[in-house]
């Protein structure tokens, strides 16, 4: 069975210290520590499955014609052996669909990074107010970002468009203020 190490002194900690209700001192460095362990811990690290060899006229894997198919791809329908079957949540995908889904951003669960255009637009509208003369440049950029990326994928956890709306409104007021100021200066001359 594998063992857990203290995250401070990296000394292995025995099973008697697992799943205690309160913090217990590490037997080595005595720092209060609590280790919550789940059943997967006791199962160990299992090797990946290999495809079974094809027998008689069974269906074969699309990518490995010598191996028996066990599952169709939920996206493209191709037959997959145990090796090619990639489980993602409750879906079964082939490596090609997985790669394509990742590249095109269609599989949300594979997204590891997203740009927050709404947050960027709002910050562009708000922060330069401190140095007001910058807003003559940043206000149009904030409006452009808001319109251009209105339908772009946003945060995976879900967000409303309120930041885009606020960015457009604040930037519009800034542009209006600049237009008024410039018109006033020109009319004075």
């Amino acid at each position: 069975m594998e063992e857990v190490t203290c995250t401070r002194c990296h000394t292995p900690i025995l099973a008697g210290y697992y799943n205690t209700p309160d913090l217990v001192p590490c037997p080595s460095c005595h720092v209060p520590i609590r280790i919550d362990v789940f059943p997967a811990f006791y199962r160990g690290f299992q090797p990946g499955k290999e495809g079974e060899a094809l027998i008689d006229d069974q269906a074969s894997c699309f990518y490995h014609p010598q191996k028996k198919a066990v599952m169709p791809c939920d996206h493209c329908g191709r037959f997959l052996c145990a090796l090619c079957n990639v489980e993602l949540g409750d879906k079964h995908l082939c490596p090609t669909c997985l790669e394509a889904g990742k590249k095109k951003g269609k599989i949300v669960n594979l997204d590891r990074h997203r740009v927050l255009y709404d947050g960027t637009a709002l910050r562009l509208a708000l922060f330069p107010i401190i140095i007001f003369w910058l807003t003559i440049f940043t206000a149009p950029i904030a409006i452009y970002l808001s319109i251009r990326h209105w339908n772009s994928p946003m945060s995976v956890i879900g967000r409303t468009k309120v930041r885009f709306i606020l960015a457009i409104v604040i930037s519009s007021f800034q542009i209006l203020a600049w237009a008024t100021g410039i018109a006033y200066l020109v009319s004075r001359q």
Binding site: T7, H10, S28, F41, V156
Partner: protein
């Protein structure tokens, strides 16, 4: 679609920056979200987000380790309040006194909030291939709550092991291939450090304490100048000592004294500002011709004697006392560590007890 995404993820309590090392300023905040089959860790800096998913079927455990960060902040904030109160009570200008009271009140609010939030901790989530920190679980109360929420969700997917089954698994473990995560933990090496830099730093601190004490009783410009230079040098040595003690076998008490010295340096720096604002504006009004340049002001600061004002006496006494205590304590502890290391390196004197006490974890570390 946003409604579906919102329903899919439920926000878990806790929020915190990802800390990257000895001194790190991270602008990204980390939060945890619970989904049907996984936990989503989101690092957001306002402009972009990074995601890490931990599926319930893969989570092997969560380690929660209590840290001293909360209590260190309590000490630091208490010292800041004390220093602000010093300024509020002893500064001569009304406006500076008001500012000092405002600072005191602000630090007091921070201190109360820090105490109410409870002790701090670091949480790590373990899977078969990684040990990942969860920065959002940085308070014990929050960590307990989140683990209480996660456990039923994880056990729903993985099932539950009763005590008898756990015993059976320990006696007859399931055969598995070597776990890649485990080897990383065991590769961590603790290197030996003789503590030479620490010794020099604490010796300089002790000398500075003696000089400040002499300055308190009998002020001369020469002593004040030497003391100032000594302060700069021991600051450098203390910072180098802090870097060197990371990942070394320097004892916990020596580490704590080094950190206390850093705290003392910060407090001294703050007190020097209090002194500056307490004396320079008044002197500038009294002798405008003699305070033309920065060098004139610095000379005037060096010329300050304990007899000149109560505030100066209090600051000198505080600085001398702390320097002497920290320097002496640090030197004694470092000497003990060096003597112990020297005795272990002599083979004919190396007993079985000494061998086991030299292993990592054989001694409390701060």
């Amino acid at each position: 679609m946003d409604d579906n995404l919102k329903k899919r993820y439920k926000r878990l309590p806790g929020k915190g920056p990802r800390r990257g090392g000895f001194i790190s300023v991270s602008l990204s905040k980390c939060k945890l979200y619970l989904s049907d089959d996984h936990i989503l860790a989101v690092d957001s800096n306002g402009f972009s987000e990074d995601y890490k998913r931990f599926y319930f079927s893969d989570i092997e455990g969560i380690i929660t380790r209590k840290t001293r960060r909360g209590s260190n902040w309590d000490i630091a904030l208490a010292l800041m309040i004390a220093c602000s109160l010093l300024g509020a009570l002893f500064l001569e200008l009304e406006s500076f006194r008001i500012i000092s009271w405002i600072f005191s009140g602000t630090f007091l609010v921070f201190l109360v909030v820090n105490i109410l939030r409870g002790p701090t901790c670091i949480c790590h989530i373990i899977t078969a291939v990684q040990e990942e920190q969860l920065p959002s679980l940085n308070r014990l109360r929050v960590a307990r709550k989140v683990i209480g929420t996660l456990r039923p969700a994880i056990e729903k997917v993985q099932g539950k092991l009763g005590p008898e089954e756990v015993k059976e698994k320990i006696i007859h473990p399931t055969p598995s291939i070597q776990n890649p995560r485990r080897t990383r933990g065991r590769n961590h090496q603790i290197r030996h450090d003789a503590g030479t830099i620490h010794m020099i730093a604490f010796a300089l601190l002790l000398i500075d304490g003696i000089l400040t004490g002499i300055n308190l009783l009998h002020h001369t410009l020469a002593i004040a100048t030497v003391s100032s230079l000594g302060t700069v040098i021991y600051c450098i040595f203390i910072v180098v000592a802090l870097v060197k003690q990371y990942g070394s076998d320097i004892p916990g008490t020596v580490r704590r004294i080094a950190w206390a010295s850093v705290g003392f340096i910060c407090v001294s720096y703050f007190l020097s500002y209090v002194l500056w604002f307490a004396t320079i504006p008044t002197l500038m009004m009294q002798r405008p011709d003699s305070m033309m340049t920065q060098w004139d002001m610095y000379r005037t600061m060096l010329d300050l004697s304990a007899r000149d004002s109560r505030l100066v006496m209090v600051v000198y006494a505080f600085t001398a006392t702390c320097s002497l205590i920290l320097g002496a304590l640090g030197l004694v502890r470092v000497k003990e560590h060096r003597d112990r290391s020297a005795s272990l390196s002599r083979p004919e004197q190396n007993s079985r007890g000494a061998f086991f006490s030299s292993l990592p974890g054989g001694e409390v570390r701060g």
